[in-house]
Symmetry: C2
Subunit: 336 residues, 2 copies
């Protein structure tokens, strides 16, 4: 069983896979070429994945057979495992717990070549609804404290399979980055009596220089202090800490602006790999006033090197004002 271990100095948690431990020669140098060949996420290969947890499929089709447009399955090689009780123990001055959690894969499309950028927005909205539904279901498990939804697009962004998919990991602890955001936005709220994300939305709408796109419900902008060139955030305009409370009628609106954003990034950066992460409130905690859910999209353009490892500082060679301008000025096919 995997182990969660805590760094005794900074308190950072690490997941150690103790079962399929990698030895030195298991770390092959990166290979960016497309692999092709057998794909366990293609229709017809349903039996090669763990059984589906949820699927959107044509009426009359059976689970774990073709006919689906979106499927959620357990990760076959999970970072954390679902069975067992959570126990926490010490080892001298160190702290650890067993690696209880959920690790699921959202197979976004049956089409091996299709991506979130190219699929119809109605189906993109289904993927966003699936995130909500899986978070709500897993939130009932009292062992979990945080559920992280993320996507690795492209091998150098960490995708081990090229078929378009996102992932979800339910964790027994609140991860550092969520804690930092919760603490930071709480501090701001204590000082100003306003949500910092709401203030960001207002200031960005006024300044306009970092705005990429906007619709009735969402603002898409490059953040003021981006870690990566062309980093983009999607922030709902109306205040809410919890993603799962997004009104049913707004999923299509989110899918539309998300699709537009990814298409603009694809075009501007020539389809470079990216990661995106959903930032939402921990389970069973109401941060109604000071926290605000959002998506962060980080293209894979620079490397984490010694300076970043040693400082937690990032060096970003592209001002967000220029990145936003480039993304605004991209002309998409449909607009021509």
């Amino acid at each position: 069983m995997p182990e969660l271990r805590k760094d005794p100095i900074v308190g950072r948690w690490v997941i150690i896979s103790t079962e399929r431990a990698k030895r030195p020669f298991d770390f092959a140098p990166e290979d960016e070429t497309s692999k092709g060949g057998f794909c366990p996420f293609d229709p017809g290969n349903e039996k090669t994945t763990p059984p589906e947890i949820v699927a959107y499929r044509a009426p009359g089709t059976l689970p774990n057979t073709p006919g689906w447009t979106m499927r959620v399955v357990a990760n076959k090689f999970p970072a954390l495992v679902i069975e067992g009780n959570l126990y926490k123990i010490g080892e001298g001055l160190y702290d650890k717990m067993n690696g209880i959690g959920a690790h699921e894969v959202i197979i976004e499309t049956p089409d091996h070549e299709e991506t979130l950028s190219t699929m119809p927005v109605e189906r993109f909205a289904d993927v966003l609804r699936a995130y909500r539904d899986r978070i709500m279901d897993l939130s009932r498990d009292p062992r979990f404290r945080y559920i992280l939804v993320f996507k690795n697009q492209g091998r150098s962004a960490g995708a081990s399979l090229e078929h378009s998919h996102s992932q979800l990991i339910a964790l027994p602890v609140i991860p550092e980055i969520a804690l930092e955001e919760l603490n930071g936005s709480k501090k701001y709220y204590g000082y100003k009596d306003r949500c910092v994300y709401c203030d960001i939305v207002r200031q960005e709408q006024e300044a306009k220089v970092r705005v990429v796109l906007e619709n009735q419900d969402f603002l898409v902008c490059c953040p003021f202090a981006p870690r990566s060139p062309f980093e983009v955030w999607i922030i709902p305009k109306s205040h809410n800490a919890v993603y799962t409370e997004l009104e049913e009628t707004r999923f299509l609106s989110l899918a539309q602006i998300f699709s537009q954003t990814l298409n603009r990034l694809d075009k501007a950066l020539n389809y470079r790999p990216y990661n995106f992460m959903l930032h939402t409130s921990p389970i069973r905690e109401s941060h109604q006033d000071y926290y605000h859910w959002h998506f962060e999209i980080v293209p894979k353009l620079t490397r984490i090197a010694g300076f970043e490892w040693g400082s937690g500082f990032y060096i970003n060679p592209s001002p967000p004002e220029e990145a936003a301008k480039f993304l605004r000025e991209v002309v998409l096919e449909e607009e021509k």
Copy 2:
């Protein structure tokens, strides 16, 4: 002039290069092949780098001419610039300051093919002394609060030139990772009245499972909760918060064990790229009792992907106990 910008939520600082701003087409996909050709760090090309700040050179040879064994120069493309007064300003709810700092390059060897692993330990000790000397010199500048020494070895670890070199960046703020370590070790000290690093040294020496190497002065071990497979720390056995206070007689001892460590990593991981960072106390702050300087070495074996970006958690597929065992059992040429 570059800008330092602070994320308004989590307080993370980012350096934005506003001058040589990179546009989308400037981000070429990674190319891992050796480039060869002209090298500004080779002897004879001294005029193509900024003038040397310090050099160890043969008696009678002139500055910025051949005859040196180690040279320190300003970075030709600095992340921060040395001239100017530090000013801090707001932009609505955002905070920023101008990018004042120092960015130096330590050219470790005149030999284009030599690395820290292959050079004689006496010269490695000179490199370690140069870190000390440059930190001491820059510490006199009241604008700086922290000096970070780090090395990127190999292109995928961030090295833009293959000629072996390390870097130093003097910062006008204390970076997040240093703050986290200072706060964490202070908290531990408040609870236990002991330095957490001293306790780690004691526990690791007793448990032995994560120890890679040891000599009279230093312990080399894989940390309990490593972010990366084969991450290795070099910790001085006697307590000191400040690297620059290392006794002159111990630099050779540090170079010996550091060289051994890098050679073992090279052999075990087939010369994969790595980063190392010196963690030491901020300038003009005495953390004598609770902080403890050390080096952290992080091989480049896994990728930072959506999960790490979104959580600050790391997934590590190699338990440190197994990594330490592999590194202990490596047989180096000299030992055969």
